[in-house]
Symmetry: C2
């Protein structure tokens, strides 16, 4: 098992005596940005992950709490669209957040089948704490970037998102700033 059949010793001229990873290869692919996105996101969510441990929560709880906080009165169905998970998966984390008092439900005004979700003050506190950590990182990352550059970053991130997503939350997000859900 531990033996290696490396029958083509000519294809990796990068490995000489040093046994260190070779320099990245180039090409017509955006390897650099692919990797930057990986590391940036890894460390970005890492901030919150560390904090969440203390509460016995995971990343899923954070996502739910975040969107409920940001879009008060969000329906369960909306949350499913946004998070792209199944009802069952959402159910577990949502139940915890409800039981532990981070979120409350209220029956819809028009449609009494709906359970509209709201963050409690306890939930607000936690989500603000987590967003604070992430904001610190973002603010630091934007420190040497001027306002126009910040717009460019936003533009890039917006354009990375599927535009054909029939998602209420995304409608709001993808609209140019200022056009916030005014009916």
């Amino acid at each position: 098992m531990a033996d290696i059949n490396f029958s083509n010793p000519t294809r990796d001229p990068d490995v000489r005596g040093t046994d260190r990873p070779a320099a990245p290869r180039s090409g017509d692919l955006r390897w650099d940005i692919i990797e930057l996105l990986f590391f940036a996101y890894r460390d970005f969510v890492g901030d919150a992950d560390n904090e969440l441990e203390a509460f016995g929560f995971g990343r899923a709880h954070h996502r739910v709490l975040h969107f409920v906080h940001r879009y008060p009165g969000l329906k369960v169905a909306d949350l499913l669209d946004v998070l792209r998970i199944t009802k069952q998966s959402l159910g577990r984390v949502l139940k915890q957040l409800l039981d532990e008092g981070y979120i409350v439900q209220r029956t819809g005004n028009n449609d009494r089948r709906q359970r509209l979700l709201f963050a409690t003050p306890k939930g607000e506190t936690l989500v603000a704490k987590l967003a604070g950590l992430q904001t610190d990182r973002i603010t630091h990352a934007l420190r040497d970037i001027n306002p126009a550059g910040i717009d460019t970053v936003r533009q890039f991130l917006r354009a990375m998102i599927d535009q054909d997503d029939p998602d209420k939350v995304l409608e709001v997000i993808l609209k140019p700033a200022g056009a916030t859900a005014k009916a």
Copy 2:
């Protein structure tokens, strides 16, 4: 359980007759960029996830294959640093990739305990396919951004990464372009 004790009906003036998610709240936190990062990354990795299904692989396989491809001769220990997972988790994924011929190991030249990892042609093909999908998305997102703006985006992403990470791969990545691992 389904009953709701919402004892403070005055705290959500956003919910009127419409029962639609309210507009996002503002404040001193970078909610906009936090959300953009979430959606951008969700859709970015979604491209590869869809393709990986056909191979019976998951995101973890992609990550391993990606970094082995990019840094030929990567050691197992390096991979653990980069992916921030445990040896056991990596073990399973790596074993599959080895068994199915996407990656090969070779004993280190200097240190024969090491198992240096290389992508096979089969592995190269798959990783290039996945990177192609992601590159398409990135290229599209950068379409209307000029070269200076693209540098700004890179600068932002780089600055989002933990700078104090004693990681060989990151050393390479975080160095200003051009200074690629030249000893």
